[in-house]
Symmetry: C2
Subunit: 372 residues, 2 copies
Amino acid sequence: MAADVSDTADSARPPLPTGPRSAGASRGGPRHAGRPTMKDVAARAGVGLKTVSRVVNGEAGVSSDTERRVQEAITSLGFRRNDSARVLRKGTTASIGLVLEDLADPFYSPLSRAVEEVARAHGALLINGSSAEDPEREQELALALCARRVDGLVIVPASDDHRYLEPEIAAGVATVFVDRPPGRIAADLVLSENFEGARAGVAHLIAHGHRRIGFIGDRPGIHTAEERLRGYRTAMDQAGLPVADSWVAPGSTDSERVRADAARMLDGADGTEPVTAFFSGNNRVTVTLVRVLAAPERRDRPVALVGFDDFELADLLSPPVTVVAQDPADLGRSAAELLFRRLDGADDEPRTVSRPTTLIARGSGEIPPHER
Amino acid sequence: MAADVSDTADSARPPLPTGPRSAGASRGGPRHAGRPTMKDVAARAGVGLKTVSRVVNGEAGVSSDTERRVQEAITSLGFRRNDSARVLRKGTTASIGLVLEDLADPFYSPLSRAVEEVARAHGALLINGSSAEDPEREQELALALCARRVDGLVIVPASDDHRYLEPEIAAGVATVFVDRPPGRIAADLVLSENFEGARAGVAHLIAHGHRRIGFIGDRPGIHTAEERLRGYRTAMDQAGLPVADSWVAPGSTDSERVRADAARMLDGADGTEPVTAFFSGNNRVTVTLVRVLAAPERRDRPVALVGFDDFELADLLSPPVTVVAQDPADLGRSAAELLFRRLDGADDEPRTVSRPTTLIARGSGEIPPHER
DNA sequence: GGGGGATCTGACAACGTTGTCCAGACCGGT
DNA sequence: ACCGGTCTGGACAACGTTGTCAGATCCCCC
């Protein structure tokens, strides 16, 4: 983040030391130390200011001789147009912002990359920031991007109330949400079919004979987590299978917690029967479960596993991991395209785009139930 | 990318349609449709322009009563400071740029994330772009960022000539290179110990009895690739082992190529003896080799493998993969800290920071040689 | 009661660019 | 020689913010 125009704009973090900018000239001289401007170029080339502007922007109406002179002046001075001034004048930045949970998450990095590619194709630059799942930080970032006057925003929500964006949207910032719906405002949205994907994944386990299936989800409160849980319950229900309370656990970023929950379900605490299969709510949980199930003391009773989200090397593990795959790049691409559709002037109702998931059977989901 | 001030600024890609900006008011009315400005806030609050500025920036010298009035006007109008204008006036953007190969690469995404965290700690925003290993695109991106007047740049080079940055650096853009050295200019640099890491990795294989070791590297021409190859040759040399030409192959982004090279080395084409171990030059190659070695027809003759770069789940494969690990987040952090040191005014000689690698023995590198 | 500070406030000019508008140069045709 | 048109170039104002500086107000104390 950078700019703090939080509505209670006290305690401003200092933007940046102004130090390096003033280095070079000792303040007094008429010769300014900073960068050359169009004015400097114009003086050097012996032409007017606007002529330089025309050359820099490739506008028509400059004789080739003049153009050459200007180009020479530009290169010899090392001039580079100041986009801030340009933005100020034009009112458009040719840049969009992306706020997501964690840029380093293997699920989000392809999404970001896809957004970047679409932006690039539209001649725009992408600025992105990680919210670290902190609602406050999401807001801080999104608003900082608005202060930079990005033309549009793509947001993977970390908060459940986005009314803070209302003035921005009203002011013309195109906004698209991905992966999770926005809170308390209407906006474009791109979602995976979380419910249906989870339902299908659990149904797959049921089809392979499992009747006691554990569900370890995503961080509770997140939309995707709830949808996937609903998919699990629906699949069980449709098969006429009961669900014991102890078979359902919220996921957690704390893998120890996940391990403990898994152990409880596997060992059949609370007098309930142990589960013979797991459905996991996201890839981090899946990986943790793979580790749990790969432990030597668990080897004698193979447990089936289907995970939501694909991940690299899933096919190389033993057994290879069956997953319900989303396509994060596809989500990002769809969202960005929706965004640029808005920027191109579309102003119909906010729409929700749903992207299908794919069940990829690799082995771990086809293990038959082993009773103790 | 967005702005084209490429020195031959013809064929400008259109920045962005100006459409949405002008929607709302039909050009004539005195009431402008755009965003409220400080002037509007001032009018609403019945105070002067500068007073609003003071409130927004948390400057001292505003009575609490006035401040309250201004705050009310701000929220009721949905005002947000225009950072472009601010930048124009102040000359500093509180943002830095990062140009790397591919944001979605699991090696670079933590690096990016680490840079972001450091930037955030310094109150700056990070703008990043992917060069896709295309030198031209690297330049395009870096210069677009300079046009935005980022205060500094972190670059993972895709090109081998960075003289295009000279005017920018002269104009005060702090610049730090990571992972690979800059071409034909002097600048700060953060590198992993590629040579020593590779040497140690290969020596590890030798220590486990291997005498014929294949090397499949990184994209040729890249600094890291050459250093790692040099490490390989040095290790072999130090052990008095000859290196057959056919044991060394450049890496490639094309995994088929890597598969073919590996097959050739394993089957001992060209009359040379087959290799009993591989050292791989980056994680993509490592993963490809894991796939090759896991093929059923290769199972009967286990081949050892040590890879440069760690990757997720390396410990869960069978056998778990021994790697020479770099710490990408650490590289990013070091680079960003170096950058902010410069921005804080340090202007000593460009320095090169070297970060150690770690050999993580997990199993695949400890397999003894199996002759055919 | 008046001087002197401290506190609060606003007018104004910049920052570097682009859109508008106008002036001059040059062309061809009469 | 004159006219209309096209091409080229430049003066100027705006974009929204912040730094400078000076004016206004208030309070305190001599």
